[in-house]
């Protein structure tokens, strides 16, 4: 076996790391390019969060304050809901962009990527980066509504909100890649998504405070919510977007602790996602 002979005419000009970073960038770039090229998808996926925001916001808002214990009188329900909708947008977009790996596999494109001289670690990282970026942009479009609803923006707040969205989206993207890494067919993946997406949304406190009410059901809800990464994203986002307007009794943790939890989830999902994806058949 002539495995150690060195052909002269292949020169690896850059260092390995720069090359791999460029690989991450390339995968990220493709996802963003596809997103930007597809206007109908951008506007189409704004419809759902807007529907939730207005139907729930004004609908539930009418019920009066009785059912929404702990919400101060000067904060309308729609304003309380709004950060939850931002997180929901990030959740949907990030999870569905992870689907695109299964999609690419089914349509063959993934092979073009997998035989390229870029490690699969970089491919997985590029995918997570791409999904997170798209999810953040999508949610940022909803953020434009904030001032109309009476949410006050200043520079620092906007930056913190965007960073929170990015972190949440990175957590969700990693989870999506983890699920998609070995998935060969769309069908199987869609089933998993159905069992994940809606529970993650409804058991996150996006629509109501998790701290409200005593009794066993509320306790169960609170407990389940605490293993849901969405919960921490919603909490952090709500406290940053509406800081000073809501009592801290409405939250399980301070925003700093929430962010730490999100970072923890990120590592816990990303590492196995990358390892699984890197496994050669």
């Amino acid at each position: 076996m002539a495995t150690n002979t060195q052909p002269q005419d292949i020169t690896v000009s850059r260092s390995r790391l720069v090359h791999e970073l460029k690989g991450v960038y390339t995968i990220w770039y493709r996802d963003v390019l596809r997103f930007v090229r597809d206007r109908s998808r951008i506007f189409g996926s704004l419809a759902q969060p807007l529907l939730f925001l207005f139907a729930l916001g004004f609908g539930v808002g009418q019920l009066g304050r009785a059912g929404l214990g702990g919400l101060p009188p000067n904060v309308p329900y729609i304003v309380f809901l709004y950060p939850g909708i931002l997180c929901m947008t990030a959740l949907f977009t990030a999870l569905f962009s992870a689907v695109s790996i299964v999609w690419d596999r089914e349509f063959g494109f993934l092979r073009e990527v997998l035989v390229a001289p870029v490690s699969r670690i970089s491919v997985a990282l590029g995918k997570v980066a791409g999904g997170s970026t798209i999810a953040m942009i999508q949610a940022a479009l909803i953020m434009l509504l904030g001032p109309l609803l009476g949410v006050h923006y200043d520079f620092v707040r906007v930056v913190l909100m965007l960073l929170t969205l990015l972190l949440l989206a990175a957590v969700i993207s990693s989870l999506g890649i983890l699920i998609a890494a070995r998935q060969k067919t769309m069908e199987g993946f869609q089933v998993i998504m159905q069992f994940l997406l809606l529970p993650m949304l409804f058991l996150s406190g996006a629509f109501f405070p998790l701290t409200g009410g005593g009794g066993t059901p509320a306790l169960i809800l609170r407990t389940v919510a605490q293993i849901n990464p969405m919960t921490y994203g919603v909490e952090a986002m709500r406290q940053i977007a509406l800081s000073g307007q809501l009592p801290s009794a409405l939250f399980l943790h301070s925003p700093g602790v929430d962010v730490l939890f999100l970072l923890g989830f990120f590592v816990v999902f990303l590492v196995p996602a990358v390892l699984l994806f890197s496994k050669q058949d």
Partner: protein, 330 residues
């Protein structure tokens, strides 16, 4: 030094052996063809050589790099045209090429000129700004060929590169590829079950049930069959077989009649006709066919089966319809 070296390479899926310890070498600039029926192990072999699948036995190197331990270098040395299309349909032709160049670290300046030259060759210069979704099957294949050559690979793997294309497009594609081979000393590794396509290869490996049953130049392979192929249809094959035995030949009975491999078939036919009518009662011959041996005949001789029997055709049409519904294969 051979550009591809394969030693006892095998791959199992569970208990099933898809590739059963194959060995061969390919020199730089050579065109090697893998010819075999559906499920013979052609794609599995390519997948191992291009680092998509781990071998379960044996070893292989491409461009001097071991496919298991030097994957990154193997990948830099090869280009691939897969059995199923692998373009991003949502991007334009040019964006697909750009993406490839970025993944393979082709510098921007080199990329521009190389891409233009290749697009010129595959006659896609006018179309390249359009979305790939709007491309025909032949255009997609041509774009994939341009993309596969973009980074100056040493070996281009082509897994049934012209499947589903019309004869004219197929001919064009082979013209491009042979041209690049001549210009750049590119090695082509192709699989096919089109006989005429296999003839392009300098050497052909006939593969069946994961084994290479023969590996040689097309003319030497055909010489194995010996002389000409004469096919006879009669009203009584059993008696005809006895008459032929009397002439010192043993025919094989096949769907299309009795097949005889013989030197100087043109002189043999009058003898047969005479012997058949001299038999009591005479055997009626309904048709006679004389032709030079094809690779199909070689395959039949080596395996006792046709390369494209009915079953294989059914599998093929199933595979096609799966592709049309968008279901590719890893």
């Amino acid at each position: 030094m051979p550009v591809i070296e394969v030693r006892d390479l095998s791959r199992k899926f569970g208990d099933f052996t898809a590739v059963n310890g194959v060995s061969f070498e390919v020199e730089q600039g050579e065109i090697i063809g893998f010819l075999g029926p559906n499920g013979a192990g052609k794609t599995t072999t390519i997948n191992m050589l291009c680092t998509l699948l781990k071998p379960t036995g044996g070893s292989a190197s491409v461009n001097g790099f071991d496919v298991a331990s030097r994957q990154d270098m193997v990948r830099r040395s090869i280009g691939l045209i897969f059995q199923d299309p692998t373009l991003d349909e949502r991007l334009t032709g040019w964006q697909n090429l750009q993406f490839h160049a970025m993944l393979y670290d082709v510098p921007a300046a080199v990329f521009e000129s190389r891409a233009k030259e290749l697009l010129e060759m595959v006659e896609l210069t006018d179309k390249v700004k359009e979305s790939v979704k709007a491309f025909s099957g032949g255009m997609k294949r041509r774009l994939e060929i341009a993309r596969g050559l973009l980074h100056h690979p040493k070996v281009l793997f082509l897994d049934e590169p012209t499947i589903g294309l019309d004869p004219q497009t197929r001919r064009h594609i082979w013209e491009y590829l042979v041209k690049v081979r001549d210009q750049e000393r590119l090695t082509l590794f192709l699989t096919t079950h089109y006989m005429d396509e296999a003839e392009i290869a300098d050497r052909i490996a006939i593969i069946d049930h994961g084994d290479i049953v023969a590996l040689d130049t097309p003319s030497k392979l055909k010489a194995m069959v010996g002389g000409d192929v004469v096919t006879l249809c009669t009203d009584d094959d059993e008696r005809a077989q006895r008459v032929l035995a009397g002439l010192g030949v043993t025919p094989t009975k096949r769907d299309d009649g009795l097949r005889v491999e013989i030197d100087h078939g043109d002189r043999f036919i009058p003898l047969v006709l005479g012997a058949m009518s001299a038999a009591t009662p005479p055997v009626t011959i309904t048709s006679v066919n004389l032709r030079r041996p094809t690779l199909e005949d070689v395959f039949v001789k080596l395996t006792g089966r046709a390369i494209r029997d009915e079953e294989a055709d059914q599998m093929e049409s199933m595979r096609r319809s799966r592709m049309m519904r968008g279901g590719g294969r890893r």
